[in-house]
């Protein structure tokens, strides 16, 4: 029986990890649909950004309430997972609380984990309250209908269930310890679950053993399920926040990259000596599909946890325009997933003929003031503006799709050296009035 349980544990573990790695590989492939970028400059600054923004949560606390409770869940998640290490060893080798030989340190750790678990549980309740009772507006924008809200709710509930299982497991365990049940070494301290033991005192020891095993299995199966849920969910940010902050732009936010293929074309016209005649004429300007994006934009899309801080600080969105930077990221991920699935089905070279413009309308793109508020607001340095801007380039350069006023502005710049229809020779007229 003991060996059977170990065997089942190992099989479940291997299967769970196999599926997880497979899905991560697919996501990695989808991210690299994007265009290559050289991003290994200034490594010191990149490590600093990752440590400060992702590990240190520096941008989360800009909004203190959400920031505080997020740190509770985050610290809880990371530290409680140390206990998962023990669960894995116990599961494989059929031991029980294998790390308890650490004595007082072990007891302290278990006690600390219990307090964290209770705090995580509380934080989840607060987050559900903010989402559904006080109804913070950014959680109820148009793009949050359906799966997006369901996903957020599932995650909070799964976390609560996992924490509850951990605490109940400990409650039963300490009863078994007190009854000197075989196999249950006296170990740990239980500042929280000691209050839960009343739920179980009425049961026989043999029943309690079953309870303990059920909670133990529930906890570990829950974690393995969660591991495999995360890559399908917005919750992927728990892993991708780290690479995303590492690879985030270091240039001033106001600097929009110059397109080198256009520099070559302009040089061919103005100063052929500077141009590279061997450079092939560009196939396409701007972004039509996810394959035209920088791969870091797709990484950003998979990293987005849909918190909506970008959207709630976007001047266009605040004033009722259709643009929502969060939706830009969600659309980008959905499109990368769609293209990925089409390629899985029809082969690597296949393209389904659809584009990111099928998801994001011209009206949304045109509403952007390029103010960088969304970029600033993102707690993990995602850049929706880069996608919006590059899609705008495609509309303008490839489709000549732009408002008439912009066409007029462009022709004024071209002919009058100013966006308005003034004569260039009048440019310095103001000097005569001073």
């Amino acid at each position: 029986m003991q060996y059977l349980s170990q065997l089942i544990f190992v099989i479940v573990l291997v299967v769970a990890i196999y599926f997880f790695i497979n899905k991560i590989k697919t996501i990695r492939r989808n991210i690299f649909f994007g265009r290559d970028q050289e991003l290994f400059d200034n490594k010191t600054q990149r490590w600093k950004n990752m440590l400060r923004v992702a590990l240190g949560q520096s941008k989360m606390v800009v909004r203190p309430v959400a920031g505080f409770f997020h740190i509770v869940i985050y610290v809880g998640f990371v530290l409680i997972n140390i206990e998962v290490l023990e669960i894995l060893i116990d599961g494989v080798f059929g031991t029980h609380r294998v790390l308890s030989f650490l004595g007082p340190i072990y007891n302290l750790a278990i006690g600390f984990f219990e307090i964290l678990a209770a705090l995580v549980f509380l934080a989840c309740i607060i987050f559900l309250t903010r989402r559904f009772i006080t109804r913070i507006p950014r959680f109820h924008s148009a793009e949050m209908k359906g799966w997006a809200t369901a996903d957020a709710t599932y995650i909070l509930i799964i976390e609560m269930i996992l924490m509850a299982a951990l605490l109940k497991m400990n409650a039963v365990d300490q009863l078994l310890q007190s009854r000197s049940a075989d196999h249950y070494v006296v170990a740990g301290s239980f500042p929280i679950s000691q209050y839960l033991t009343v739920l179980f005192t009425g049961f026989d020891t043999s029943i309690l053993v079953i309870f303990e095993r059920v909670f133990w299995w529930f906890h570990i199966l829950g974690i393995l399920f969660f591991l495999n849920y995360v890559p399908y969910s917005k919750h992927l940010h728990i892993f991708l926040a780290f690479p995303n902050t590492w690879y985030a732009r270091l240039k001033p936010a106001g600097e929009f990259d110059n397109m080198p293929e256009i520099t070559n074309e302009v040089n061919l016209m103005l100063d052929p000596s500077k141009a590279d005649p061997t450079m092939p004429p560009p196939e396409k300007f701007g972004v039509n599909d996810v394959t035209d994006l920088n791969w870091t934009s797709i990484l950003g899309a998979y990293s987005c946890t849909e918190c909506g801080r970008c959207t709630s600080s976007c001047p266009a969105n605040i004033t009722g325009k259709k643009l929502s930077p969060r939706k830009i990221m969600m659309d980008t991920r959905d499109r990368a997933e769609e293209l990925g699935k089409a390629k899985d089905k029809n082969g690597k070279e296949f393209h389904d003929g659809k584009s990111l413009h099928d998801y994001i309308s011209q009206e949304e793109l045109l509403a952007c003031t390029t103010c960088n508020a969304c970029v600033e607001a993102c707690p993990i340095n995602i850049n929706p503006l880069e996608i919006i801007y590059q899609m705008r380039q495609y509309q303008t350069l490839e489709k000549s799709a732009m408002p008439n006023e912009w066409a007029l502005m462009n022709s004024n710049i071209e002919n009058n050296q100013a966006p308005w229809q003034f004569s260039p020779s009048d440019r310095a007229n103001w000097t005569k009035e001073i």
Binding site: E255, I262, I318, K321, K322, A373, M409, Q417, D426, T431
Partner: protein, 263 residues
């Protein structure tokens, strides 16, 4: 002060075998737009007053290409940029000051990779430097106790991280700076950036400049200070919309400095 000021051009100085220490890039709004011209003139008066050796390009100046670039027309942007860089390099310009954060951002950040490498500063930075160096001084408490709020433009603030220089100018003039709820990194756009100035807003339930102006009015300030000709226009329009003309003024920091010095 009724003395006429002569604004030298780079070409004129070159003809005399001279060179300016700093080029004042006026920008399209500053050159043509009636409201923005007032900012340009105020700034030139200050330059003149402190005796800086400056020049403008005059009719040789051309749009930086910023609005074309933000509207997605990279081709037109680079054409403009290359032409401007050729002019600037011909005059061996090394330092540029602009009264427009859009020109500032474009020349500072987007010209270098196209061959235009200059030290570029925004006029609020220059004014702050002049104050720090003691070259720009004010009489007794020009704005003492006057409530002034300050609007961070996106392209000076978030885009380039300049938040303090403009505020230090206000401090130097003894104004009582009252911040809006959304300020500094969280400052709200006026609605003009990204070439929005040159088109109608997309469909929505409010104009962005109205939203921003309401926030500025809420501070109770009698002056809304700004650092950008487009913000000045947008918020100025917001003030008209709110029927607050006369009660609340929208002024660029250069205009405030010129007023404090009675220029």
């Amino acid at each position: 002060m009724n003395e006429r000021i002569h604004v030298p051009t780079a070409a004129e100085l070159l003809a005399k075998g001279e060179k300016a220490d700093i080029l004042f890039w006026v920008g399209c709004a500053g050159s043509f737009d009636e409201r923005a011209q007032k900012i340009t003139k105020a700034f030139v008066k200050i330059l003149h007053n402190v005796g800086l050796n400056y020049a403008i390009l005059g009719t040789e100046e051309s749009c930086t290409g910023d609005p074309a670039k933000r509207a997605g027309n990279e081709f037109l942007f680079q054409m403009q940029a290359m032409a401007n860089i050729a002019t600037l390099n011909a005059y061996e310009i090394t330092k540029i000051v602009t009264t427009c954060p859009h020109c500032f951002n474009t020349i500072k950040n987007e010209y270098p990779s196209l061959g235009g490498k200059y030290e570029v500063i925004h006029h609020t930075q220059l004014l702050q430097e002049l104050i720090d160096e003691g070259k720009l001084t004010f009489g007794a408490d020009p704005f003492k106790g006057k409530k002034i709020t300050y609007h961070d433009s996106c392209y000076l603030g978030r885009a380039n991280g300049i938040y303090d220089a403009p505020r230090r100018i206000l401090e130097a003039m003894d104004a009582e700076l009252v911040e809006m709820k959304r300020c500094r990194k969280n400052g709200l756009c006026c609605g003009a950036g990204g070439a929005q100035m040159f088109k109608d807003a997309e469909k929505g339930n409010k104009e962005i400049n109205i939203e921003r102006t309401e926030e500025a009015i809420e501070t109770g300030a009698s002056i809304i200070s700004a650092n950008c000709p487009f913000c000045t226009t947008m918020i100025g329009d917001g003030i008209k919309h709110a029927n607050k003309e006369g009660a609340v003024e929208v002024l660029d920091l250069a205009e405030l400095v010129a007023r404090a010095k009675d220029l």
